[in-house]
Amino acid sequence: MSTTNLNADNHAEEHHGAPSGIMRWLLTTNHKDIGSLYLLFSLLMFFIGGGMAMVIRAELFQPGLQIVEPDFFNQMTTVHGLIMVFGAVMPAFVGLANWMVPMMIGAPDMALPRMNNWSFWILPFAFLILLMSLFMEGGGPNFGWTFYAPLSTTYSNDSTALFVFSVHIMGISSIMGAINVIVTIFNLRAPGMTFMKMPLFVWTWLITAFLLIAVMPVLAGAVTMVLTDKYFLTSFFSAAGGGDPVMFQHIFWFFGHPEVYIMILPAFGIISQIVPTFSRKKLFGYSSMVYATASIALLSFVVWAHHMFTTGMPLAGELFFMYCTMLISVPTGVKVFNWVATMWRGSLTFEVPMMFSIAFIVLFTIGGFSGLMLAITPADFQYHDTYFVVAHFHYVLVTGAIFSIMAGAYYWLPKWTGYMFDEKLAKAHFWLSLVSVNVLFFPMHFVGLAGMPRRIPDYATQFADFNAVISIGGFAFGLSQLLFVAVVYKCIKGGEKATDQVWEGAEGLEWEVPSPAPYHTFETPPDIK
């Protein structure tokens, strides 16, 4: 690609300086190209995973079994979870990091561009393997995204090896992405860009990358143990052979809890970029934001067993994990406080990115509150494995992580394409999403408290009305997302020209380069004031 680099500089006007065709995308090492690939891939996965959610909600629209077999239903919940976590949310954040981190710190590209290409291009294969396994005889994985042993060992079907390999590939991809982010931030900051001057999106991603490096290998270990237990007669998780099935949960959640923060810390970063822009004020409490992020990351390693309160832990363990979990809400509260304080007496305007951000702050906080309820050990015995948990993690993940990704996409879209997006359509997308997402997830709290278990294709008739409402919310939310595709498509095709700064209150290096951002930016480092 080095030849194309040369003439790119002379053609700054051009949308991209590289040749077109499939080879450009296959071989590209440009951070903006790879960022776009990640984002488009994540959008595709969002719709595939979303399609599965539609199957789930269609089945649950009425009590009784009507559309799918229970086993297929379980495959849908499992693969929906895996795709949304590893295929939609994580790649979207990696895509945003690819696009924005180099521009925000004044670097010409990511530090390891070739590895960057690899870490993206192995991803489609991981998901191809996972999706193909659904068509195997005996079906795909059906043991839940948490693949608890012995469901995934003794009782799983023949496609388990495929599941294991696809998770391995996803893990390798994330680890390579994380290494790239860390090296870029450590070594490629423009002179004068000290750590405490870095935009918060960069900070949160740096910390996320360390989390990824710490826990993705543990996930790889866990799936490997499942593989050997199932196929090679080891007994890591089989009591009969001297192992312990509960140990699976310890290992999985040692990965799993930090993983949920991997999916929310970059969201915190995005919101911390957007709120100051549309409040026309500096972010309130910058350094406390950095420290809060770091303490959330550290604490996330000592709370894993809050997913295991009902496994028969001793009282001392239950209390330890209960208090540590509650402790995490302190730095999380600091963040929410800082965002609100940033808006306080700001001259607010409500452009679409800001609307998504405000919705994020309110709805993520609801998810945090239900998390706190779940953290109360005795209460969790009632809530565990009910729809209350489903409500909790969808508030933090859909109205949290996904809303932040939407906010970020609307915020930077004009920088990427050079055009303003269709504001009317985007507002329609926002309002429809906001209403339907709450119709979808809020009633889940109530059916959960009333005792409806999660991961079942049928339920007691007492839950029928609520489930019908939930499903309608689900279909509406799913359809609303098509508007997002329309907005993005139109914005790529054309529209009102975007200025370099795009948003009146926007500050930061990414707003100093032209819109659309040229193929190569900051080949000579910028001056940092």
């Binding site: 490096i213 710490a214 993705m216 290998p217 790889a220 007669l233 052979g241």
Partner: protein, 193 residues
């Protein structure tokens, strides 16, 4: 140019460190397995009794009586009968006791099973001393064959006063498919002698 070279060296160094961390954490995932067991051993948290025979007790504390309950169950739909001779015993700490568990292989296959013990409350597991237990070994039984499996135990005198009832539960797992073929036949050959 030299600037660029040092930058590249920095990058290499950092990448090396990060890759090492990745391998370290991969190993750590596996190390969690023994670590978790060690942790539970030290703290006695998970209700696992020891897998090795205990030494005989030398004295008896007649002032206390503890009620010991026995539960026996089979895992999955194993077509075996498995039950303790008595459901409950009242014992003094330090006093030796013996009882049998009755098993019968009602299936049409020769099978090897493994009994896995668990004590509740978990903390009491550390005070449950087994001098002899069928759970120390794998148990081969031919089709239709029945056997009495022995357990010899005592409750440690140091058991804290709040424990007045201790439950020992055994779960019988079919491990016929988890062991190699020649080991399988050997177990049955040894059994005959």
């Amino acid at each position: 140019m030299t600037d660029k070279q040092t930058a590249q060296q920095d990058t290499k160094k950092l990448v090396k460190k990060l890759v090492l961390t990745v391998f370290f954490m991969f190993g750590f995932g596996f190390a969690l397995v023994p670590l978790y067991d060690v942790f539970c051993d030290i703290t006695g948290l998970n209700g696992k009794t020891s897998n090795v025979a205990a030494v005989q007790s030398d004295s008896v504390d007649k002032t206390r009586t503890i009620s010991v309950e026995f539960i026996a169950r089979t895992q999955g739909n194993l077509p075996w009968i498995f039950k303790p001779e008595v459901k409950k015993m009242n014992v003094h700490p330090g006093e030796m006791h013996q009882l049998n568990f009755l098993v019968k292989n009602n299936s049409v296959d020769n099978m090897v099973v493994q009994a896995v013990p668990s004590v509740s409350p978990g903390i009491a597991a550390a005070y449950f001393n087994k001098i002899e237990c069928f759970c120390f070994n794998q148990q081969p039984l031919e089709q239709g064959q029945a056997a009495d499996l022995g357990l010899q135990f005592y409750i440690d005198k140091d058991i804290p006063p709040e424990y007045t009832t201790v439950t020992l539960s055994y779960t019988l797992f079919d491990i016929s498919k988890n062991i190699e073929q020649d080991e399988f036949t050997k177990l049955f050959a040894d059994n005959k002698n």
